[in-house]
Each structure stands twice: as structure tokens, then as C-alpha cells.
Subunit: 325 residues, 4 copies
Amino acid sequence: MSPSDADAPAPPPEGPPGGGAAVSRREFDALFEAVRTWGRWAAGAAGRGAWNGVTADHVRGAAALVRSGTVVPLGRPWDTAPGPDNARPALHHMTDLGDVEEPEPSAYKDFLGADYHGKSVSHLDALSHIGYRGRLYDGRAAREEAGAGGARFGSVAALGPLVTRGVLLDLPAVLGVPWLEPGHAVRAGDLLAAEEALGVRIGEADAVLLRSGRFRRRRELGPWDPGTGSAGWHVDALPLLAERGVALLGADGDSDVRPSPVEGLHSPVHALALTAMGVPLLDNLDLEALSAACAGAGRHAFMLVVSPLNVPGGTGSPVNPVAVL
Amino acid sequence: MSPSDADAPAPPPEGPPGGGAAVSRREFDALFEAVRTWGRWAAGAAGRGAWNGVTADHVRGAAALVRSGTVVPLGRPWDTAPGPDNARPALHHMTDLGDVEEPEPSAYKDFLGADYHGKSVSHLDALSHIGYRGRLYDGRAAREEAGAGGARFGSVAALGPLVTRGVLLDLPAVLGVPWLEPGHAVRAGDLLAAEEALGVRIGEADAVLLRSGRFRRRRELGPWDPGTGSAGWHVDALPLLAERGVALLGADGDSDVRPSPVEGLHSPVHALALTAMGVPLLDNLDLEALSAACAGAGRHAFMLVVSPLNVPGGTGSPVNPVAVL
Amino acid sequence: MSPSDADAPAPPPEGPPGGGAAVSRREFDALFEAVRTWGRWAAGAAGRGAWNGVTADHVRGAAALVRSGTVVPLGRPWDTAPGPDNARPALHHMTDLGDVEEPEPSAYKDFLGADYHGKSVSHLDALSHIGYRGRLYDGRAAREEAGAGGARFGSVAALGPLVTRGVLLDLPAVLGVPWLEPGHAVRAGDLLAAEEALGVRIGEADAVLLRSGRFRRRRELGPWDPGTGSAGWHVDALPLLAERGVALLGADGDSDVRPSPVEGLHSPVHALALTAMGVPLLDNLDLEALSAACAGAGRHAFMLVVSPLNVPGGTGSPVNPVAVL
Amino acid sequence: MSPSDADAPAPPPEGPPGGGAAVSRREFDALFEAVRTWGRWAAGAAGRGAWNGVTADHVRGAAALVRSGTVVPLGRPWDTAPGPDNARPALHHMTDLGDVEEPEPSAYKDFLGADYHGKSVSHLDALSHIGYRGRLYDGRAAREEAGAGGARFGSVAALGPLVTRGVLLDLPAVLGVPWLEPGHAVRAGDLLAAEEALGVRIGEADAVLLRSGRFRRRRELGPWDPGTGSAGWHVDALPLLAERGVALLGADGDSDVRPSPVEGLHSPVHALALTAMGVPLLDNLDLEALSAACAGAGRHAFMLVVSPLNVPGGTGSPVNPVAVL
């Protein structure tokens, strides 16, 4: 902050109801600087961002977490119906019903299509998905790196798969509620309290999955527009996550609390995670079964495998991540 | 066989060059009967076929194979260019280049689409993909189970993810050649010889990956039409694979040798694996990096994770399977 | 009606509010028989149905109607946003922004996609679009003629373009209202009254366009679900239209009044027009500008040109029909 | 030309075989200046370019050309098979086969998709399709006007339909050959000779359709890559076409002769017509039936109706233009 700012008394933190303390653009930019890791990796590897920090040791450590052999998929059903949380419904077309290709045998085939970024498809955001002030992660000029042919930097093909320790931050379980209400901001203090309550400590190369209970709420109350209200991280938790060295943030929303607490920014956590920290995001996971599995097992850490489609120039990928307990 | 057939001396087995011994339709049907497992699983679980046999023990056993922490993806690049092995090229369209959704931050988004069954996209075949004589796995009537809305039985959503032991049958390594020529049939005896040479024994719940070196050949010699010529399993190997209780067959082709050695059937291994045995298939994997990794590690067994997209009614899914050594 | 039906007192005609008199399934089937023209055309030409009756004389007559040279397009904007009347939004993706193909010159390209049948895209229904009791037009077995590869009979490619006289039945203009309310049924008597009021008589080979004012209402009141309520033809008008020998029915809805007045049938006018009479339909036209042009010109007949895309096996096509006054 | 250029003797015009006289970039730029009509139309109308010059008189005049009532569609079949002239095959997927929407009646539906610019789909190029030296027609900055959301200037929705006089320049008929060989350049003198031979004079607001016989050649000899060799206009014909005030250029190729005779430009006629003159193009028309119809009728002028889909922001549209004789 400039001296004149420092002289003025800070305005009382007033965010939108439930969205957490309001953050000015200037404060956000300071946060961005504080967590940014541009230049940390060799130029040729920068497109993988934080995943460069996931070593063979982390992989081995993740595999060593497998005890019960319970396999929990986290991907939502491919949703072809429009709705308040599905503005660009996915496509599923049968292209052969045993009558196109010559039998025998008869073949049944289908076409899948999706403009998967949004609020419905479970997907991974690669580093090329978000730019801030014209820059992608590592300071790359967005206009140079992204075009109609795809992303030249930070594509999902550069990421490849991730095998690491996953940690479920099951906030509703911690708070004893069925779900967090839309607009509920999860702040740094909540993270620390959740670690304590769940008996887990987030560390280097972890994939942190934030459960808000969105899909339980959706099943019980029906869909709503998460662009208007969703539970998610407040930006003030990002420095702590950065300090811990996380490799991936995932959520049953898209990690951002909405309405956004940051003045003039619709998705500030996206900018901090992807653009500043080089940390990919997993959006729209269904974490209900994992919540039950972790509760049943009495532990919230597990092997997580995320394997995006190998799309050169892709800004992300639909995925069906797997937790193995 | 009818009496008059029995009287006549059997004609010498003459297959297409390299395609292995010719198999009559009658012999094929006997094979089909021999390996079929219809009725083995409860009706509600039958759509998962052989994956019902993958237990928590198998998952734990697979995780225990992780030693070096080397992660090897097996998915080919999403290919939008038509070619002799890509008759229905995949789609990749950028739908936001920072100028559609309101900044800040700016968003880069894309649409992915594919009629993924075929010879290009790395994908999983669910049990609804193939029918024989009007029947899907477990004897379900194909006409009742598959329609324009998708597959009611044997969908990929029923499968979910697989975590099990993977075994790479690296035939070119065994034979000391860079690749198998298109048309090369891998027979039961070759399987036994490969096990011996590689020091591995295929067993219950294994995912068997057959490497022919297709993508090394493609990189060196250019693409060709695998419908005309591809290396793959001869049907005579299937009883052995069935006896061993495999859960999944994968290949850098689509598991079938072509030209097909079976009279009147274009994809007999598909019919045996999917329709008779309930064993899903992984097609068009790039196994070159895995070959090198296994050679380097001196072992050909590893943890394999396959996580198809969660598509209700889908006959399969593009995937990027992961081997972890 | 059979004698026993005639003995019984007819129930009072009670339709849904505004939907017109209720029609039993038996009455509908009698209507179907009464208007059906199966066998009228040679087998090779049957897929064009009523368009076989549009002769060179009709084309010349249509061209002779051009006086002011006013050209009025009837196609709605391609709508990529979901809504109550757009359950399967169209796709529009830019595929080159001057940066994919080598310049110079620079090229800007796009992909268009639509599952166009529905309530949003202006489109033509070919004869393969609708079957009744398992039969398509001309009595063809629907199951034999339509498959995953497309329609073998009654495809839009068989239709080709239509040039004929168009007649706008501007019901709101006749009734002095801004629009017909959803559920308003247009009956045979309304047709005769409209002819009288507009000074036009529908005849052989005409394309009859029914305006309900849907898109004026939509612009003023917002969208609604036309599946629940839409103004359109009551089935009792179809015998009169059949008698007149019309070639095409078009509307700003989809020709059917909804709720349907016919017991157990969601789209009875579709069945009568397409399946019984071989008369293609034009759905979701924007007739507001044409209404103004006809009012201004003081006449409601004009040259109409409808030119569907040449899709072999297609069940219809998005179109932008043109009226020329 | 600079003085030093002027001093040097001009090299003999040597183009690629058949591609016509070579044209330097400097000569091309002079041509571009000579034919450009930037600023001719009001800013709000500029996106329609030369179509602003098509008046009600031209429409009436076109309708008056209808004599025999023969209707000839010019659109090629929607082609879903890749090939040397179809690098991005169109999509056609059945989405209902009577089993998705509730019967009765039963509905048969399909999805159509195409990245239609290219060498296969019959389509209209709107003015936003091509830029030269960073500028679209009327001098608009391409980078400002085209983005992932579509074209803000020169979209196909701005064009709407065209009804005007069409003239078929049937070069093979004039030359007494079955087709022009790929690479054959049609020059200004050829245009004059064709007018003479066919008894027609191209004038204000005409749509000029150049037939090379491409699709007859394709049917007899099979497909080839038109990017490597195609018959079409040499740039030296464009000043004459501009002088005549044409509204539209169409062809069975894409109007450009290839290899391009212009140094460093792959599609110089596109740049002259679309970017300099504001004249839309019709590509990949099948003109074989029209050739026969014109020969039969003994005249090469007719009413042409082109009605693109109403796609806001679209750079063109698949079309099925109609000639009526």
C-alpha cells in the first residue's frame, strides 16, 4: 500500500452477505505478488507450474496411502440438459446403433462433445485457462500464447496426469451442517480449523479438495446458478495454501466463493491459483461419496489420480478423478 | 458339425498373410461359448462384467507395485487431422479467448468433441459397444438396450474407474524387432512365450496391454489404415486370457488382428472380449513410453488406473490411462 | 365413427383452455385416414410427398407475384443460449481468427452445429421426421427406414428446394390483437374467416404460413416453454388444408397447438401433415417482418423460396426461408 | 513501382503451370487499391458491402427471368467423409430414432455440424471471412472486429438473403472441354470471350457463377486437393468484374485459381472480392445440373436466390443456393 493509503483508517471489511471480507483491487494485487511463483521453473517446464514439484517420492507416498482399496470416482455425470448451472449442455449422440458399420459383430458408438469449462462438467483447468492483466502464468503474454488454434503455453497436454496425495477438506463435516450455503467463504482460519478437526495437515504437493456439499444441496433443493452464489475459498486463504506448497486445488464448486469478495474480479481464486501460483484447479467434482468414504475410513488423505485427456493446446479437460483409500 | 462335414477332411488352416490361422464361423461360435460368462454376475452388476472381479485386494496389490514413482500416461494426442487411421477427426474449438466472458481475470476456454470409437482416439470400450448375433454381454437383446438416447445396459457410467495390476506384453521387445508388422497375429503360444521372456504371469483381474509397436512404426513410416492391417490378438489366445481371469485388454491397436482370421467377422476379439467375456477394451494406446519405462525398470507389471468419463448411456469414453511403476 | 360410437351420446367437446375441442384417438385416426395420400406418388418420388405437386406452373406463378421487390427473410437468429424455448442450444465456435491458416490473406472461420428440431431454430421438417403407429409417410416402416446412419426414406435431400406461392395467414391481424395467446387453437372456421379478411384463397401447391405473433409476444413478455403452451392449428383444420392441396405448412410455432387437443398425442398436426399428407413443415419462423410487409403491401401472397441444406439422410434442415413481395 | 524496379526490364510473366501470369505483391496491392470500395456505404450498412447495391429493381428483374419454372439447387451433399478435398468432414448425428421423445407420434431428429469453410461444403463467405494486411472490408481492423465470440462487423446475419440475376459463366461449355484442369486461370479476356459465346453481359448487381467443371471431373477421376490445384479466377479479371458492379462471385471451386499466381498470397481473389470490393463469395457449388439446364434453355441468366442461415457473428453459412430459370 502507498503511504497515503496507510494513513487512512482501513474501511471496515464488508463483503457481500456470506462472501467474506471485501478485498480491494489493490489488496488483491498485493496478494497476487505475494503468492506468485513466476520464474520458479525452467522455461520449458513452466507450463506444468506447481506439478513440477510433484516428485517420485510424492507419487510413492500417495500409493502408500492405499489401505482399504476403496476406489471413489469424483466425476459428475455428463449432463446434456441445460439448467441454471449448465448454460452450455454437453452433447452425447449415438453414431452407430449396430446399423452403420458392417456386422458382425454389431457396433454401438457415440459422439461426446462439451464446452466443458463452466459449472457442470467435472474438469481440470490447465494454466492457460486464466490470465490476469494480460498475463498467463510465468508472465507469458496471453495474447501471444492463446489463439484460435489453442494454447501454446500452459496447455493440458503439458500437464499430463497427476498422482499425489489428496486431502479432503470436508467443511460441512467439520461444521456439522449438511452443506455450506452459497456465498459462504472459506478463509485461512477455516482451513486451519479444518485441519485440526480432520486430523490432517496439508503439505507439499498435496491436492486439496474443498467440499461445500454443493451436490447434496443440489439433490435436495434443486439446481441454482453458481455464478450468483457459491461456497468457495476466500482469497485470504491462498497465501496459506501457497506456503504449504499445494499442487492442485479442487472443489465441488470451482474454488471461488461467489459473489466475489474482490472488487472488479469475478474469479479471484482462479487468478491466484492458476496465474500467480501455477496451481491447476479441478472444478465441479462430486465429493459426496468421497465424504462418506473418508468418514467411514476415519481419514481424509488418500491417493488421488487425475488424468486429463491429452489435448495439445487444450486449456483443460473433462476428467473423472479417482480417490483411492 | 453336420455328418457330411465330419466326413470331409478338414481343409488346411489358411489365414490371410500374417493374420494367423483361418477360423470358421462355426469354430468361432464354439470359442464364444467356451469363454462366455453370461449369468456370472447379478443382473444389476452385469454391466460391469469382468470388473466385478476386481476386488479391494487387487487394488491394494496394484498400489503395492508402485516402486520408482514413475508415472506414464498412455493416451495419444487428441487428433483433429483426418488420415488413413483417423476417419472421424476429433474437434477442438476455442470458445473464449479472453474476449467473451467479462474480465478480469480473462478466460480461455475450449470445446472438445469426438466420435471416439475408431482408430485414433485412446479410448475405453464399455460392454455396450459390441453385440454379436443380436446380443450384448450377459445375453441382453441389443435392440432393447441401445437406442438414440444411449445404452441402457453396459454403459461406461456403470463401469466407473479401474485400479488394478497392469501387465505390458511387449511383443516387439520379446521378439527383438522394432514393431510387429500389420497383420501379425499374436496367438496363445506367443502369450506364454512372452510371459516367460518378460518374467511375468498374467492372472486374475489383470489389465493386459499388448504392445505391437504401432506408434513407433507410425512415427517412422507414417500412418496407414489399421482396418486393413493391424497386429493384434488371434482369437485362439482368448481362451487362455479367459482362463487367467483378466479384467481388461488394452493395446496400441484395438486388440484385433486384421485382416480378421475369422470368416465373416470384422472384429472377432471384440466380440469375444466384450460380448462373451464382459472384458472391456482399451484401444489406441501409445505404449512406446511404457515400453521404455518397463525395460528400464526391468519389470512389466505396474499399477494401472483407467478412469473413463462418467457418461450415462455412453458406450465408452476417451481416456488417458496411467501406468505407475 | 363406427355405428356403436354413433349410438352413444357424444361427450361434450372439452379441450384444455384455448386448445380447442378435445379429439379422441379414434376421431384422430379417422382424420388421419381421411387426409392421407399414401400411394399417390411413384415409389421413387414418394419421399417428396406433396412437393411432387408443385409444378413449373406454380413456380412461374410464384415468380409473377414479385412486384415491389421486397425481400423478407423468415429465419430466426441462431441461438446459442439455453432457455425455456431452447433446450438444445445451437453451437457457434470460431475456428480461425486469422492465426490458424497461413496469412496472407488472414481467414476467419467458424463451426456451426445444431440439434435443430425443437422450438428455437428455424427449420424444415422432412417427411422422415415423424412417424405414426410405426409408419412414416407412404406407409413406410419407420424402423426399416431410419437408423443411426440417417433416414433412407423421406430425407431432406430428397426434398430439395421449394419455390411456390406463400400465403401469410396473419391471425393476429385478422383478430385485431397483438398475438394469439399460447394454447389458442386455429380451426377450420378461422382459416375461412382469415381468407375472407385477408382477401386471399389458399390453393394448390401453396405454402401456408400461420402467424400467431409468437416472436412479438416473446420480445415483449420474454420466452416461455412452447411445449406447454403454443398457438397453432387444431387438427380439424387439416382436412380443409388437405382439400386445398397445400404443399407446405409453416408457422412461428411448430404448427401444433399445445396443449394438444388429441388424447395421447403430443403433436397431432405433425402426424397429419408429415405422415398422412406428405406435407413438410416449417417451424419457428419469425413472421413479424413479413406481417408488416404484407400489411404495407396490402396483400398476403408472395413468392416463397425455401432451400434446405442438401443433407443425405437428414430429417430436416435449418433454413432461412425468403418471401419476396 | 519504385524507380529501380522501373529501370529493370520486367521479367517475363511466368506463373505456375496453368496458374496464369505471375503477379508481384506490389502489383497485387495496386490492384487492391484499384478495386476497393471502402467508404462507399454508410458505416451501418458497410457490412453488407456490394449487396447494398442490389435494389428492388434488381429483385424484380431477377424474378422476371423466370420462364420455364425450372428450379436448380446448387448445394453439394453434406459430406461426412474425410478426403483430399474434405479436411474437416461435416457431422451428421441422429439424436432421436423414435425412442427419445415420448411417442405418439414418434420423432426422428438429427444434429448437423460443420466447420464449413474449406473445400467441401457449399457455403457463402461473408465479409468478415477474409482480412488483408490486418484490415477487413471498409478498412475495419480485423483484430477489433473478430473474436472468439464471432465477428462484430461483416457477419452473415448482416447480409441476409440475396435475390438477384445469376449468370453462369460456363467455361468448359465455351471451350468445348469437359472441365478446366486444376491450375487453369480464368482471365479478363476469358470473361469477355465467355460473355460473347454465351450471349450474356455481366452487369450491375449480378451474381456471377464460374463453372470449371470441378464436380464432373471429381465424379470421373476422383477427388484431389484443391488447395494444390484448382481452376479459378486470375486476379487480372477482378477489375473488370468490379467495373461491372457485380454483387456476388460464386464457383464450383472457391473462385481462386491455385497455385496462386500472386507472390506470397494463398487466396488473392478472396482478398480482392471480400476485403477490397465487399463482394461475398459462394464456394464449392455443384454447377453441373445448372450447366445442363442453361444449355437446354439456351440462356445463361436466371433468378438466383441465396439465403444464408441467420447467424449473428457468423463469418458465412452453409447454403443451398437456388437458380430458377
